[in-house]
């Protein structure tokens, strides 16, 4: 059997098994086919992989046709340009210090050219990303255009993975903070997941911040549903609906154990009315907080600070902070902390430690 025939058979099997009405006889012959030759199983895996890659086209299909298929651009050149451009962007984002200056200069030049070219294409300055991409921002805010035309602004040192499928536009905010402006599409919900909490939108704009076991969602336009991700056995929790001007705070417990707010993990989320501009101030370099645990503020600040900041004890973690931290002035904010709170600062091995005074005297 040729390799092509084998793959073809595997693709046919996949289609037949997808049908709910596959009979016992079908299943019996499937088991036979699958176990007759290890190459058959491999072919099946290859088919699945191919389909996963193809799923990246989800945003480009309409009425059984690829959008823009009839007006093909001179493809090779455009694709090469885009790939080179993305590479330059990626390199400059991720390895600003590991590359020799000449490479840096080359990528900066490439970026400048690309940026200029791009402005003429989008006029919004949002850089396009493909499905399957993982976007990591370094020092600055990064704006990206998702495959469906939705836009995202990623705060400093944040990571976002794009997993679009035919059924949903899924994004995974692994770390940090991002602001989303969603292109409406009722048939394909836009779902952002951060630390096990999902935000589902159809067409709207919202901000998600994930740090220190807290997920904070702020809605600036439209409405979103927020719910705890389904775990292995339990189905998804009951969603909380939030409209423009509302902020929902979810305690997830986070990755670090023994934290002050751990006891509340899994508790009902809190919904409060806010001025949305407060939550998205980071886009202009302001981090604004109202009664926020110091732990969460420090997690944010760490995305902007030069040296890592660590809170040494639970008492200090529990302190609540209200105020503004300017992104470029995190050092100043830190040195002013002891005047505002019963804490002391200590610098050790290039790390700034915050100790509570109470813990010191114990």
């Amino acid at each position: 059997m040729s390799e092509a025939n084998r793959i073809n058979a595997a693709a046919d099997w996949l289609l037949r098994l997808q049908s709910e009405t596959a009979s016992d006889a079908t299943i019996r012959s499937w088991v036979q086919w699958c176990e007759a030759d290890v190459r058959n199983q491999r072919a099946f895996d290859q088919v699945r992989e191919t389909l996963q890659i193809a799923d990246g086209l989800a945003g480009e299909v309409e009425n059984g046709e690829l959008i823009g298929a009839s007006m093909e651009v001179p493809r090779g050149r455009f694709e090469r340009f885009m790939a080179g451009w993305r590479e330059a962007w990626r390199v400059s984002l991720q390895y600003p210090l590991q590359y020799p200056l000449s490479t840096m200069a080359a990528s900066v030049a490439a970026l400048a050219v690309a940026a200029l070219a791009w402005v003429t294409l989008t006029s919004t300055g949002h850089l396009p990303v493909r499905n399957g991409a993982v976007i990591e921002s370094d020092e600055a805010v990064h704006a990206a255009m998702l495959p469906d035309g939705s836009r995202v602004e990623l705060a400093s040192k944040s990571t976002l993975a794009v997993h679009y499928t035919g059924a949903a536009r899924s994004l995974d905010l692994r770390d940090g903070e991002a602001y989303f402006t969603v292109t409406p599409n009722k048939r394909r919900p836009f779902i952002v997941t951060a630390d096990g909490v999902s935000v589902r939108a159809v067409g709207t704009a919202f901000n998600v911040r994930s740090a220190a076991g807290r997920v904070v969602v702020t809605v600036t336009e439209g409405t979103v549903d927020i719910y705890q991700q389904s775990s292995r056995s339990a189905p998804a929790g009951k969603p909380v609906r939030a409209g423009a001007g509302f902020q929902v705070v979810w305690q997830t417990g986070g990755a670090a154990p023994g934290q002050a707010e751990r006891a509340q993990a899994g508790a009902e989320p809190a919904r409060v009315s806010v001025k949305p501009a407060t939550a998205v101030g980071w886009r202009e370099g302001r981090l604004e907080y109202l009664d926020e645990p110091l732990e969460a503020v420090v997690a944010d600040v760490n995305r902007y600070a030069i040296r890592p900041v660590v809170i040494a004890d639970d008492a200090a973690r529990k302190l609540r902070f209200s105020g503004t931290v300017m992104v470029g002035l995190t050092d100043e904010w830190l040195s002013a902390l002891p005047r505002q709170f019963p804490v002391t600062l200590q610098r050790q091995n290039g790390v700034d430690m915050i100790h509570s005074v109470a813990a010191d005297s114990r």
Partner: protein, 179 residues
């Protein structure tokens, strides 16, 4: 005594067919981690059988039980989407590291190009099935062909994409798929 032999027969059955079962469930559920869970659940249910039968019966039964659990899950998903507007975990794509981003971009470009090289009906059948939730019967009706023919179109389209991803040229791949 009988319990241990039953458990042993089952564990052999499972060892022998687990991969086939998981592949079957992936086809149903479109999600590998969920497929593994369902396979596990089916196994547990078989362990609880009071009057286990012959191995040939057990195998058919294992797949039937697994198919039913999968069907339950698919329906539950559909209901919860309708009633509560929630979505089950979407985990269709494996996570790619940033260094594979460019590679993934290139693969996607190859697949897009491959689809454009295909005859329009093959492309259409594939896109309708994969992206617009049409089953092969509906696609047959839409394109005025038999269900079986629709299935051929789709599997040929997938095979063609795969061969192009494997580095075959347009003419080489076409010679293989449309001899």
């Amino acid at each position: 005594m009988e319990d241990t032999t039953h458990a042993q027969a089952l564990s052999e059955l499972f060892e022998q067919h687990n991969r086939t079962l998981v592949n079957f469930l992936v086809a149903r559920l479109g999600n590998e981690s969920e497929a593994k869970e369902v396979a596990q659940e089916a196994y547990v249910r078989l362990l609880q059988l009071h009057e286990p039968g012959a191995v040939s019966f057990l195998r058919a039964y294992l797949f039937r039980v697994a198919a039913n659990i999968a069907l339950d899950r698919i329906r539950r998903r559909a209901v919860s989407e309708r009633l509560e507007g929630t979505y089950a975990d979407e985990d269709l794509t494996t996570t790619l590291g940033p260094d594979r981003e460019v590679q993934a971009t290139q693969s996607l470009a190859v697949v897009r190009q491959a689809l454009l090289e295909l005859p329009a009906r093959h492309r259409k059948a594939f896109l309708l099935q994969r992206f617009e939730d049409k089953n092969t019967t509906e696609i047959g009706r839409l394109l005025g062909i038999k269900e079986r023919q629709a299935r051929y179109y789709i599997s040929h389209a997938v095979t063609y994409c795969r061969l192009r991803l494997d580095g075959l040229s347009e003419s080489e791949a076409k010679a293989q798929v449309f001899p």
